[in-house]
């Protein structure tokens, strides 16, 4: 076993419930110290994948290897795979410190020792002074940090996170993203992060795994996936992409909305005619929606100044163009 070997290996892992196949044979290696995000729409099998890794579900076929050991028959409580739950699942009848000490107590760590380690983690996550509070006396962000401390106190080599930020307000999400990335870098342990949110996955992960309908659709660095989606599913799920008919049969062209140019006059180069539909404010930029000649929806991202210059009215005819290097071809 060397450091180059993956920490986790999924080999042909399937999970079915009766006739429904939630996970349809996935192969995935996760490295040591890597921050991997598993992303996909709801029902794509991402949470099932995570639960199998934690031993909360048994795979129907295939092997899950952790640190070189096949884990299929190891029960959940004998694995070192702490999970941060979507609901956080803090114990309401225990106070903050007792929640954090829980994992140590189950592992038979002495009272003195576990007390000290719990306090250290509470301090590290900015919860000093809150150790005797009840859980229902904490804010959402504080509970989040208690859940993190509770999972990290046993110093695992891997942390699993199941949509941990989905219940938080937008501004807290950004702050917790910072907390998580910094923790992961400092600890050097593996994070496996399940989410349906692109912004979370792309902001934090070293590698993103896109899942759809129980299969892995694409694995890559955030930028690769964002700029070069391999399939129509990924192109539709990630970012704001235009999917256009390709030059050859069986091919399609993907152009990201932020690389699409809008002009009121027909340019010399090849351009798509499109009728303006509506606009949507997305922070500092605006997404304009158009209807193409064949009724397809097209989108282009413009700045405020560009929008003012264009001054589009619904039904108005525009022309959409893009630089050749802005597009890439996918096979259907």
């Amino acid at each position: 076993m060397t450091d180059q070997d993956p920490l986790v290996r999924f080999a042909g892992v399937r999970k079915s419930y009766g006739t429904f196949e939630a996970v349809k044979g996935i192969d995935l290696d996760i490295g040591r110290g890597e921050f991997v995000a598993i992303m996909g729409p709801s029902g794509c099998g991402k949470t099932t994948t995570l639960r199998m890794l934690a031993g909360l579900e048994a795979p129907s076929a295939g092997d899950i290897t952790l640190d070189g050991r096949v884990m299929n028959d190891v029960p959940a409580h004998e694995r070192d795979t702490p999970l941060v739950w979507q609901s956080l699942a803090l114990f309401p009848f225990l106070n903050v410190r007792e929640n954090v000490e829980f994992g140590l107590k189950m592992r038979g760590v002495s009272k003195m020792d576990s007390h000290g380690r719990a306090m250290m983690w509470l301090e590290r996550l900015g919860l000093k002074g809150f150790e005797n509070r009840r859980i229902d006396q904490l804010s959402g962000g504080q509970r989040q940090r208690v859940a993190l401390a509770r999972s990290l106190v046993t110093e695992p080599q891997m942390l699993l996170l199941d949509e941990p930020l989905s219940a938080l307000d937008a501004h807290l999400v950004i702050r917790m993203q910072g907390v998580l990335t910094r923790l992961q870098r400092e600890l050097g342990i593996t994070f496996v992060y399940v989410t349906h949110s692109q912004s979370e996955a792309f902001a934090m992960a070293d590698r993103v795994v896109i899942m759809g309908q129980g299969e892995i659709a694409q694995i890559g660095k955030p930028k690769e996936i964002f700029r070069a989606p391999k399939t129509r599913f990924v192109a539709e799920f990630v970012g704001r992409n235009n999917i256009l008919p390709g030059d050859k049969a069986g091919q399609e062209i993907v152009v990201a909305a932020d690389r699409m140019q809008v002009s009121a006059d027909q340019p010399d180069a090849a351009a798509l005619p499109a009728e303006f539909l509506s606009e949507e404010f997305a922070g500092t930029s605006i997404i304009c929606y158009f209807e193409g000649a064949n009724g397809e929806e097209l989108k282009a991202q413009v700045t405020e100044e560009e929008l003012e210059a264009l001054d589009p009215a619904p039904g108005q005819r525009f022309w959409l163009t893009w630089a050749p290097e802005a597009s890439h071809v996918i096979t259907v």
């Binding site: 031993g55 409580h77 739950w85 609901s87 699942a89 114990f91 829980f102 994992g103 189950m106």
Partner: protein, 259 residues
Amino acid sequence: MKPSDLVFRVYLAAIFVFVFAPIVTSMIFSFNSDRFPTVPLGSFTTHWYQTAFSRPEVWTAFGNSLIIAVCAAALSTSLGFVTAYTDFRYGFRFKTAYLALALLPPTIPLVIMGLAMLAWLRQLGLSGTLTGIVIAHTVMGAPFAMAICRLRLQQMDSALEAAAWNLGASPWRAMRVVVIPFCLPALISAYCLTAAVSFDEFLVAWFVSGLNKTVPVMILEILQGNVDPQINAIGTVVFLTSMVLVIIAQLLILRKTAR
């Protein structure tokens, strides 16, 4: 105060008067020196309490009732909790039938239940024993205990137990350190309520008690002889005991839902 509020308050007061008047009357007469319950009242006395509680059979009956209530409540609560947990944790075929059966006993007429218990316990050679009454009262109390435990389990995040496993607790240990502590208010409340049910229960106990009388059975036997204000004294003690148990149960149920 709006007129509608006033009407509502009067209505509420009327309900309480309707429900509690007979019991309060009995309490008042238990301190009344007259032999027969008539107005105007005689003088204040604790004579009936002294007479009643100087009789050894009254103490025996209270002892029997207490032992039975304590045991039947423990068994009902355990059984009710396990049944509710099975419903919470596992999905299986015929679950609806399982739940319907588990909740059935209170719908059986008590006379039928009493007769059936008598026949059944006689087969086991337990009729007329305290164990027999404990079994009968356990059957009667378990559905209430189950209903209370189910209510509590429905409030439990299903990830809570899995979180305990995930942090290294074996399933048994997770039950001990997570599920049971979470359900503790419900368990205590179920215990108090089933104890009260057992302590008050007359009809089934009358069928199966034989010579080991419980308090309600003894009250009837005294009444069959003559009308005696001692009954009021004993009744008052029984009522207060059950009330305390029910109030504890209610406080715990309300506290857990407020959280």
